[in-house]
Symmetry: C2
DNA sequence: TGACGGCCTTGATAATTGTCAAGGAGGTAA
DNA sequence: TTACCTCCTTGACAATTATCAAGGCCGTCA
């Protein structure tokens, strides 16, 4: 359907590059076209490229010990895929990337990044900062997923989406289907459906399509026993 | 009590350094002595040092939104603290480090690391790999904590400890109190106690003090519906 | 020595979340 | 059009985990 959707604004490693560095990288990049139901890469493949989505939709997911496919993230136009994987050792993609819609991507090779890093020590430092921050974020997610209940996880996810989208009042748009959202929150679609129903029933949110309106963030947070500051924007 | 305990063998950023690089760092390091109940640093402090524990015990923990103190990790002799935090931006410790026993540490400054990185681009590359791997591990933990139940989390934690300790038959030693273990697994101490009771009752493990014996790893894994390969050593 | 405090355990009970089954809505392809 | 198919929802029920309360054990400290 909407092939014009773009990823929520999110920092990527590409933004650390200066214009000239970016040019060097672009010169060595190449374009890729893939059709729906193909795979960009599969878990275990040698991770030698970072990809940026120009148009389309790519889902990163992995097989769980129980046999289910868990969605880790969905990338739309602008999204940068596998920016960590190419630097890991062994250099293998830890997840599979599935094409959901006809997609065009730009592929940047590991080798060209490596060259850039070697010849620009200050860039390496920035990258180290960047990845360290990602570690910090992941540790936060880790706490979030263990120490708070599903209701709170959902609201915290709302806060996350809200702060990443450009503000338009007290509304935001769910970027994925609810099935995917449930997978990301680590709950079943049924439980998610019931959480939504409860929030709507209590007037804490209203829903119209993928658009969620929150009449009062403070009330919403208080209701699920969270600090309201989670909805504050921090660039 | 046992002040001779050492941390489980775990990769640290210090091991990436060549002997000469290590010497440069050591020359700029300094020693710290702290007594029980003091804090090495608190959440929000400027993160300008990485610490290695020479002797003693340090607990890294953070305050959760519900007001509880969650233990992230316990460091014993050999442990390296805050190897990520110093590279984050803003450069603040994301957790507090509490001294549990009289402790001596070596402090390495952020500035000296930065110099090393700038003058050794290949080292930077290694560090990028190292931190990327950490990202991968955290993503695994993230899955583990959301997709599997408490019982499985406990057994996976056993596997983790087992593979990090030098093997002595089918035994391993719990490095922390059960209260801390429960906190790390994201469950209450009561639930943990009941899980242990069930495992012991079913003859899947035996417990004597902090030492756990597993008669048959394969049976244990099968009982909680996990693949036995989690107990395989992978260096 | 006794008093206190933390950790661990256990029981009873409640809250949370998952599982199974079913049906509606909407999209796609023959 | 019909025949699927997936997503979303709902209900009934089961499993998991938390909460509250209590007691035992084992340290430390006065």
């Amino acid at each position: 359907m909407s092939s014009t959707q773009t990823c929520p604004i999110e920092a990527s490693i590409l933004q650390l590059l200066s214009p000239s560095q970016r040019n060097i990288l672009e010169a060595q990049s190449h374009q890729i076209n893939l059709n729906s139901h193909e795979y960009l890469f599969e878990r275990g493949d040698t991770a030698d490229h970072i990809y940026q989505v120009n148009r389309g939709k790519v889902t990163l997911s992995r097989l769980m010990p129980n046999g289910e496919q868990k969605v880790f993230k969905v990338f739309l136009s602008g999204g940068v895929i596998a920016e960590m994987a190419v630097f890991m050792q062994p250099r293998e993609y830890p997840m599979s990337a599935h094409i959901d819609q006809e997609t065009t991507l730009t592929a940047y090779s590991y080798a060209s990044f490596k060259e850039l890093f070697i010849s620009n020590p200050e860039l390496s430092l920035q990258v180290i900062s960047f990845i360290s921050n990602r570690v910090g974020q992941l540790m936060n997610s880790l706490d979030m997923l263990t120490q708070v209940n599903a209701n709170q996880r959902l609201v915290m996810h709302f806060a996350d989406i809200y702060s990443k989208q450009k503000r338009c009042g007290n509304r935001f748009t769910l970027p994925n289907t609810k099935k995917v959202l449930a997978s990301q929150l680590g709950i079943t679609p049924e439980t998610l459906s019931r959480l939504f129903r409860k929030l709507k029933f209590n007037g804490l949110i209203t829903e119209s399509g993928a658009c969620i309106t929150v009449p009062d963030f403070t009330v919403l947070c208080r209701e699920v026993d969270l600090v309201p500051s989670i909805f504050q924007h921090n660039h």
